[in-house]
Subunit: 187 residues, 2 copies
DNA sequence: ACCTGAACACCGTTCAAGT
DNA sequence: ACCTGAACACCGTTCAAGT
């Protein structure tokens, strides 16, 4: 005789995201998630293989949100300004979801990592501007350069690595304009 | 009546580094460390406050090694080539110690993070080239730009985030020369 | 003064038993 | 078909008792 479902995969992932973001990855226990969705810990295993898989689901949900935010950046004709829009959107996203942002770049395509198609969709807008700035022949390398810089900057910022004083916002703008012009100048 | 010491703080940290690097952070258990140094887990608490403190000690030991490697980079007159030397040394270090490298940039100056003096010493060579390239007025921002790019690149590389094909070494060289010239050109 | 076994609270995960 | 309590193995950590 069927028992009515008392929760759902979506509710579980949502609960996990909330816990991770508000209390850190270490506090993401199966018991905490279970309590939040109103069920006992063993029941979670009906919908999620194990804790690692749940972390993976949280990562993919975060990637979907990031894809949405980057796709929503207003398209402007000048590639330099377009790049700035994407860079600021990425940084704003990271500030809004610091823990899950860190998850995205940490648990990359391990065995069972995020869907490669999803990763490609997230990267698409950056690849587009990179091609405009550096030319199609160098699009991939240029995209990797900007992405590496932006992610490195943001992750160091979130980790508190910029502790020698100076204005962090200014440093972000400085790096952004330097890189934009560097990629735009002829090889 | 005193009991002879059966291990030392150094041996404990060394054991922890070996475990972390060969099996990952999750496998760094107090029991695994204890077994490796020939003692029972509770004895570790005579020399280390707790597991978090041990991770912190591993991080600082790694930073010391990185400081040594960066300080050992041959000094050359052209700042562009000097920057390349530092960038390659950093990447080589990360490839040799991927897990502990990740630790460095992750557990930054949290409450009880690494010694700020040590962090400053590690950053010193980069700050020096940055000042030469971009001028003293922009040294800090320039240093942050290169460091962010290099760290971002390396951490994405280690996470397997460069999965769209293309040669990763080439992309590193591409980004390096672009950034070096960008920082050297007048504001 | 250092080391240990025993103990505690807390994990992730499995499974037989309920409905 | 889903949910649960009980159980297991395994953590980190404390502490009284040994030497």
């Amino acid at each position: 005789m069927p028992t009515p479902e008392r929760t759902s995969l979506d509710a579980i992932v949502e609960a996990a995201r909330t816990i991770v973001e508000s209390q850190g990855l270490a506090q993401l226990t199966m018991q905490a998630v279970a309590e939040r969705v109103g069920v006992r810990a063993p029941s979670l295993y009906k919908r999620v293989r194990n804790r690692d898989a749940l972390v993976q689901l949280v990562t993919e949900a975060t990637l979907l949100d990031l894809e949405r935010d980057l796709a929503a950046v207003e398209v402007v004709p000048e590639p330099g300004r377009m790049l700035a829009g994407l860079a600021h959107a990425l940084r704003a996203f990271a500030h809004a979801h610091p823990v899950t942002y860190h998850l995205i770049f940490t648990s990359a395509p391990a065995p069972g990592g995020p869907d490669p198609d999803l990763l490609a969709r997230v990267a698409a807008p950056v690849l587009r501007v990179a091609a405009e700035l550096a030319g199609p022949a160098h699009a991939l390398e240029a995209a990797r350069t900007v992405t590496a810089w932006a992610h490195g900057f943001i992750s160091m910022e979130l980790a508190g690595a910029f502790n020698l004083g100076g204005d962090v916002d200014t440093a972000y703008e400085y790096g952004l304009t330097r890189i934009a012009t560097a990629l735009a100048s002829p090889a």
